[in-house]
Symmetry: D2
Subunit: 124 residues, 4 copies
């Protein structure tokens, strides 16, 4: 990974993550494990680990920031979910930008900002 400090979310593309994950998987000869079925199971497992970190704990952003162990654990688990998600996107040759936009359009129709503008979450 050509890690330089001036790489960040402003200038890094999704392709960067795809390449990094692809290389990591291929170098270990793990493509055979990274089947669609295994990857969706893996994403769910990692999402469970992430969720566990805040079970019974309704912490604010500030409380999480102050707790370094918790903050690092949450960051790591977010990364784990994302890594497996990217590996699934690689396995299916998807464009995340494309599927994100398609889904956001559906969400905007389902939850029109005209109808959902006063903090109500669900349709009556």
């Amino acid at each position: 990974m050509n890690d330089t400090n001036n790489f960040n979310d402003q200038n890094v593309s999704i392709s960067f993550f795809k390449e990094e994950v692809k290389k990591f998987v291929e170098e270990r000869n793990w493509s055979k494990y990274h089947t669609p079925k295994n990857l969706v199971q893996a994403i769910n497992c990692e999402a469970g680990e992430l969720s566990q970190l805040l079970l019974f704990k309704d912490y604010s952003k500030e409380e999480i920031m102050k707790n370094e162990t918790l903050f690092t654990s949450i960051s790591d688990e977010i990364a784990d979910v994302f890594i497996y998600l990217i590996s699934l996107i690689n396995a299916l040759d998807l464009d995340l930008r494309h599927i994100f936009t398609k889904k956001m359009e559906k969400n905007k129709k389902k939850y029109s900002s005209k109808e959902f503008n006063n903090g109500i979450y669900y349709k009556k």
Copy 2:
């Protein structure tokens, strides 16, 4: 969303997704629901929906591609997991590029490519 067809994973930055999700949440006044605890629960729920799509079905990429309904459902559920993940990243003001790189470094140490180069997944 200024959607143009020449936007894709090669040139779109993480900031793009962050902005889109932030705008969507704020326009609906949903920030109060998007607490860290609710978001980790939401990610886990969406990951479960994604996993369900391939339960009992060990489909190859090709089989998934041919099945348009399944393909769209998988794409949508990947997007849903990603959207909530981005909303959590927004709520905690994280740089995904940064936490991804940190975690990949840990993974590379844990699964050194010297030791893990022949398709074995777990340490003995």
Copy 3:
């Protein structure tokens, strides 16, 4: 299922559930799908559906009781998690009473009632 109204949680044994689930699976020739790996994935999917029902909704017991649709959905999803759990117990020939008691003993050691008696959940 020989359903009679005087069967309830007071007098029904775990064996009853095991037999019902076993019969259901065998009659449909589904044992081949009910492998340990598929069943743990299925349990996680159903647990996600259950969790989804209370996402963003911190409802009390009374609010849930009054909402018949929600009440039925929660009951059904609890049953779904339980049915797959029982199928896994069947697939591995486990005695739920035995593994429950073993785990409760571990929990009692980890969270001794002397140390955990004033509503604190986690060790400092």
Copy 4:
């Protein structure tokens, strides 16, 4: 827990588990944490831990039995899912026998044994 060796799945009722879990929660003054919303999140987390144990590993019953560490871990995680499920059932005053039977009846209608008798899992 009045544990005697001749208690097992043949003669133990669901009420036994309900009482044990209720006592455990009350003795620690944890009822305030065991809200419906927290419990569905907890069940999903524990289901993820269970699923993780067989991620990338399509083990047969025999292979699991021979691997004592794995066998104990699976047993413990099944118990954890079950314990939280029972605590949710307690929190909502449900009769598991009743909701199980209701759901099995729906499943029997949805997957009639006439239509689903040759190992096909999904409706065409």
